[in-house]
Symmetry: C2
Subunit: 576 residues, 2 copies
Amino acid sequence: MPYHAPVAEYQFILDHVVGLDQVTATDRFADATPDVTAAILTEAGRMSQEVLSPLNRSGDQHPARLENGVLRTSPGFDQGYRAIADGGWVSISAHPDHGGMGLPMALATAVNEMMSSACLALQIIPLMTQGQIDALEHHASDALKQTYLPKLVSGEWNGTMNLTEPQAGSDVGALTTSAEPRGDGTYAITGQKIYISWGDNDFTDNVVHLVLARLPDGPPGTKGISLFLVPKLIPDEHGKPGRANDLKVVGVEHKMGLHGSPTCTMQYDGATGWLVGREHDGMRAMFTMMNNARLGVGGQGIGVAEAALQHALAYATDRKQGRTPVEGGTGAIVDHADVRRMLTTMKADIFAARAIALACAVAIDMETATGAPDWSARAAFLTPIAKAFGTDTGIEVANLGVQVHGGMGFVEETGAAQYLRDVRVTAIYEGTNGIQAMDLAARKLMDGGEAAHALIDEIEAQAEAARATLPDLAEPLWQASETLREGLDWMIAQSDLTQRFAGAVPFLRAFARVLGGHYHLAAAMAETAAGQDNGPRTRLARFYLTRLLPEHAGLLAHATAGADDLYALSPDDLAA
Amino acid sequence: MPYHAPVAEYQFILDHVVGLDQVTATDRFADATPDVTAAILTEAGRMSQEVLSPLNRSGDQHPARLENGVLRTSPGFDQGYRAIADGGWVSISAHPDHGGMGLPMALATAVNEMMSSACLALQIIPLMTQGQIDALEHHASDALKQTYLPKLVSGEWNGTMNLTEPQAGSDVGALTTSAEPRGDGTYAITGQKIYISWGDNDFTDNVVHLVLARLPDGPPGTKGISLFLVPKLIPDEHGKPGRANDLKVVGVEHKMGLHGSPTCTMQYDGATGWLVGREHDGMRAMFTMMNNARLGVGGQGIGVAEAALQHALAYATDRKQGRTPVEGGTGAIVDHADVRRMLTTMKADIFAARAIALACAVAIDMETATGAPDWSARAAFLTPIAKAFGTDTGIEVANLGVQVHGGMGFVEETGAAQYLRDVRVTAIYEGTNGIQAMDLAARKLMDGGEAAHALIDEIEAQAEAARATLPDLAEPLWQASETLREGLDWMIAQSDLTQRFAGAVPFLRAFARVLGGHYHLAAAMAETAAGQDNGPRTRLARFYLTRLLPEHAGLLAHATAGADDLYALSPDDLAA
């Protein structure tokens, strides 16, 4: 089942839905001309289709494993990674100072998504490395930048992110890994980290770990955490990988999916590390990396969703069964109403999630290019939505993909089940989707809801503008955004954050639902403006607005129910 | 993680929510006294906890496999099955004429659910056998009954169901397996069947296959299909398993989950079979088995959901992380609002799905005991809802269970992922949930909606009755049932079934949502009537009615959107 990169779809959304033209109009991103954009998307699409996609099953069937302390990766992954590195796909958005292309995050987001569609297990490497590059560009010393950035940008070395410890999951502040200053500018890092994606491999020249640890005088909690760069092999005076550092992989998890991606337990035994950023200020640098990765993980969900849709659509178009209601149809199951409903739902939700992710990327680019606080606030607000809705969409679409296959979906040979097993973790890692929702409902409303209201204002303004040409789409969206605004105001009015947290997940989803409608309407308006009445994008928008958008009302009822009734049920009440 | 059988919960729902007293008041089920009911639930619960539950991981880790043509089952499954057979748990509802207990289906449904919680892979054997017993009791000749029923009822032999063929999935009428009459009362059965659960094993004395096949003069489609009983070993004149029949397992599927349950491809090479029921009337007998199995599969979903909830609750109560908002709390993650929200959602939906399944079982019992057409119509109407909502709940609850575990949910060692992988198939087998929804929206409304309206009338009458005592619960339920009635009337008004099918899945779910509210209200009313104001059941009902019930409105908007907009998007429009 070959994956086909939807290059024209990215191009349309970038050009007509999320406004890439604002980005390319800035000095910073003036190089991202239409020709460059088209070439990047086409080439990355081709590489994803031709090189990465054939590796996806290999990773599932021949998991990465630890053999006498050596990490052995899945067959073909070395060549796949080489293609990613050689194509420059690690470093599209990295700064040209260190060899990056310096192109917009919007383009990088589309490229990352295509690589996820093709082979999620392998795509994690460039995604983590990109986050590390971003963190080092913003927070590392010049010396560290000079040694590490060119190698990370070229893909010769790859990066990992070490936060989690056995006793400290989402509560990063509870970590106990220690960093002892040695007096020579280096630190001795000691402790154990778990769930480290690609903690090692057998095809890059070096692995660079960013590790959160606590200095001897670090206060408890997140305020006492510092960030350290800890390479697998310590670079010599020429910057070449030298002696082995005092760290090792001590275990690889046996997981539900993503078998090709080794999830490692890392042991640091006085490993040599260098401080990144200031002492006790590690969370700030780590957040740079995490925010980058959060958008990226949202894109992973969307990428898998795209692959699952293509896979299910091909099956449904090929599989003949029963009498279908379509005159002149082929008799394939795609013509059964319920199968069509599932596939169209998949398509409509992928569009919504993808547009949200690309809009978030555009906001990041505008922040980078202009430094304007409004863009910064927009990017910050959209990031948790892009992450959670993108990954939830990944899971739901992959789940529908299994269902479209019927019994064939549950047997492993078709590959439909692998998408569901692989994508499941994306709602968990880089901050669970619950954490994303709490971030949205608390931290991202600390501006009194200014960024959120600005977004709703835009949604309503566009709906107003569409009232004359597309009234049946504009009206329900306008109504929904009013309901969303009421929900938002309820959230803002809660000074007790627990009240917000009790409904944060449905609140985030309601926001995503309405935003998805906003971008669908934008697509329909663009089609209409181009002289195509009731074209396929308008029809897809109608499907979404009629059938999927109405979910927002029930979600907002849930979101604003408060915490009191929830805590009225004790854990004992929930027990059998 | 030990499973704890929620015996008191079944007892409460049977006694106070779904009206088991009506069943036990009939002559047919007069033996099901409160003492008997309590003893059955307690003993089956004990067996499930102590014998079956420890086998669940074994089945996952040591899948059943075909070894030189011999089917080898997972370690310990032989003893587990022996405990099921010896306890009489195969035949609770089988007629006493053949050694069954003759007890209500309502009790069998609760027992089946407990066995599913403990070890779904193994529970499939008694579930399939029960369906076969039901089909033979209703449709087989006396000679077949005498030979087979006592052995099936005792569990010495087990039963399977052979419908699907490679080219005919949900479209059973397309099957090509042939039956040639031999002139001696037997038939030669030839063909291949796929997805046969427990097509063989190494611990029962015989395996009895019910096989759909076509006689030489059988017209095309489902009207030309007959049902045959085809034993693995042909009984000799004493009824003992004799010579091997001409059939074999030629393959076992590699599946996403349920590894302990061998899913077989069966090859029949002129195997000897006996007709069950009349020629060309096989679908009728098969439907007896399927309807039985559909309710049972709904119970499988609920059973896995219960196990997943217990598992997640134990983890969340044990795992300490972060600062929780509960004064005097233990600091465990169960006290975080979003974790509490997930667990309470799991609990509330399990109650709803379980009450629907048990109400369906009570209707079947009343049909059996009284033959009244109203009960028959009620049972027929509730069966697809019980199947689809029960299994969807199984998947959603298991999915939430993974999420509650965070990173630990994605690694296999905790077992959280196994619940999700195992339960996923229940939305597919015994008729996909799409097929269930189409059955509901078409066949089950062929009475002009009489059964559906009668149910809504009951929902509204109960809500009216609760207005004085529980107004905050009664009012939203009454409103929701009015909205549901409008949706129902829209469905009935569509003479073109494609219009109904385009929204059948959300229609079924909306019906289940409102029904779930009805039973939650019944529980709250029972608690109130017993003098307990705002007890735990009332608080759980409030959670459901405030947060989950509102979903119905969005579902009904989707359900009544019609097929035109759906088919306005072609398969090409859905392609990338």
